[in-house]
């Protein structure tokens, strides 16, 4: 069936299909330390996205020949559950998932003191339970919390957010419909204290000026996510403290 654009994605007042303004994030809920067996874990809800992250390690590397003599090996698996999208997704890792696993790993590693744990591996498992656009960014936001929860020394948390172009407007944190029907999507991961962009991808078509605006817009999004991450991390320990008081 050919798709019909019955509804505009952005109305004349600049309001989006989910009721947001152009420069607003979706509601975010973050929880830390929710898995029993993992060394560190986190859960994120961003809009309709629901993503669970578990960290194991530092631990012995299997197979052994993959061990690196002067630093830890960071391994990452980004995976979408078969029921996370409209049409069932085969559970076998797709090429998209393999690529995202790679870029997520490369976005997190600059924040981790990998040299503290030579010959070990740090394993990161990301399961997308429900997807609604922008899963790589939401995964990264949660993954850096899970690493911190595992007690792995880090330079800072990594916050991630996307910006994109929808019907000619530049908008923050695209949802699934906006991502699919919009003109461009630009995910960014950012380390605040280093002012470092550690993930940068884009597909779509934008001018040089729009590109500059999108990069800045995405970083502004990251700046809003960062305090939420810190709060979520603290919340876990405040809960423990209160438990001890009782």
């Amino acid at each position: 069936m050919p798709k019909k654009k019955t509804k505009k994605l952005i109305d004349k007042n600049g309001v989006r299909i989910d009721g947001r303004e152009l420069n607003k994030l979706r509601p975010i809920k973050l929880e830390v330390g929710i898995l029993d067996n993992a060394d560190g874990s986190a859960y994120i809800e961003q809009g309709k996205n629901k993503i669970l992250v578990g960290v194991y390690g530092p631990k012995e590397v299997h197979p052994k020949h993959l061990a690196i003599s002067d630093r830890a090996l960071l391994r990452c698996r980004y995976h979408m559950a078969p029921f996370s999208v409209q049409e069932r997704k085969s559970p076998a890792p797709s090429r998209r998932e393999r690529e995202l696993s790679k870029v997520i790993k490369e976005a997190l590693q600059p924040a981790i003191f990998v040299k503290y744990y030579p010959r070990t591996s740090i394993e990161l498992f990301i399961e997308v339970l429900q997807a609604d656009g922008g899963t790589r960014c939401a995964s990264l936001t949660a993954a850096s919390l899970a690493l911190a929860d595992a007690g792995i020394p880090m330079r800072d948390l990594v916050a991630a957010c996307a910006a994109g172009k929808v019907e000619g407007h530049l908008a923050l944190d695209l949802n699934d419909t906006e991502d699919k029907e919009g003109e461009a999507d630009l995910p960014v991961a950012w380390i605040p204290t280093l002012n470092a962009v550690t993930l940068l991808q884009m597909d779509g078509k934008v001018t040089l000026e729009e590109f500059e605006q999108l990069v800045n817009m995405a970083i502004e999004g990251c700046k809003q996510i960062y305090p939420l991450q810190k709060e979520a991390l603290k919340a876990k320990y405040i809960a423990v403290k209160e438990e001890v008081k009782e």
Binding site: R95, R98, E99, P110, T198, Q201, D203, G204, L208, F211
Partner: protein
């Protein structure tokens, strides 16, 4: 295999030179290596091209088949890009299922072609929802000396421009081949420009030993109108916003130079 000690010494030298605005092979920071391009190198393929960028060598072959369209875009042909890091091209490549590097390479090349709408996929539809043409772009790395992305993207584009589709007519739902060929509808020319960050400086077209020293990598693909259509950051380092915006400007200019070479053939 080269001795790792020599590599260490050389790596230090490469990094120091870059901070003085120089490179080991005498290039400027934003100079490409010599580019050689040949098209129509494989007769069996509908289109093909070989690109040599310095010592990096890439062969791309295009095959076209009839198949079913994706359900969500029933009136469009299908584009499939695959990359093979052949084990003969480098001691670091092994035979077997595609590595994450091969997948990333294929997907970055794919993104440039797809997002710039280089191929008019609507024109590859035979019967909406039932029959379309599938364009297979197979990237073969024959020698690895760094910057596989740019070389592969250029070879893929040159091969697509070189591609001739057989003429056909549809009789009772069946495709009948007619004599003669028409070129593939290629309407845009995406060019990838890859940067490496070494000692906090940006260089373009890193060769293998520079890739071993670099902190991070950034590929910016621009189309014929100077729009940015694909981006990919790689490697375990990072970029500042300023570096990214500087790179985007350089990429646009460099791509214009390269595009003239590739489109002319």
């Amino acid at each position: 295999m080269k001795s790792p000690i020599i590599i260490r010494v050389k790596q230090k030298q490469i990094a120091q030179l870059v901070s003085h605005g120089k490179r080991l092979d005498g290039r400027g920071l934003t100079d490409y290596r010599e580019l050689q391009l040949e098209t129509g190198v494989v007769g069996r393929a509908e289109g093909s091209a070989r690109v040599r960028l310095g010592k990096t060598e890439v062969l791309v072959g295009i095959k076209i088949e009839v198949g079913k369209p994706f359900a969500d875009v029933p009136n469009k042909g299908v584009l499939t890009v695959n990359a093979e890091l052949t084990a003969l091209a480098s001691p670091s490549f092994a035979p077997g299922p595609p590595s994450e590097n091969a997948i990333e390479l294929a997907r970055v090349v794919d993104r440039g072609i797809r997002e710039s709408k280089a191929i008019v996929l609507e024109e590859l539809c035979v019967e909406p929802g039932k029959k379309v043409f599938i364009v297979f772009v197979d990237v073969y790395i024959l020698n690895h000396d760094g910057n596989l992305i740019d070389a592969s993207a250029m070879a893929a584009l040159a091969a697509l421009i070189n591609t001739k589709m057989f003429n056909y007519e549809v009789k009772e739902g069946e495709i009948k081949v007619k004599p003669g060929y028409t070129p593939l509808p290629v309407k845009n020319y995406p060019i990838a420009v890859t940067f490496a960050k070494i000692n906090d400086k940006l260089i373009v077209d890193p060769w293998l030993e520079e890739e071993q020293v670099m902190d991070a990598r950034l590929t910016i693909t621009t189309d014929k109108d100077g729009n940015i259509c694909a981006l990919q950051k790689g490697g375990y380092g990072y970029f500042t916003t300023q570096q990214i915006l500087e790179a985007a400007k350089i990429a646009k200019n460099k791509a214009e130079e390269l595009r003239k070479r590739v489109v002319k053939g």
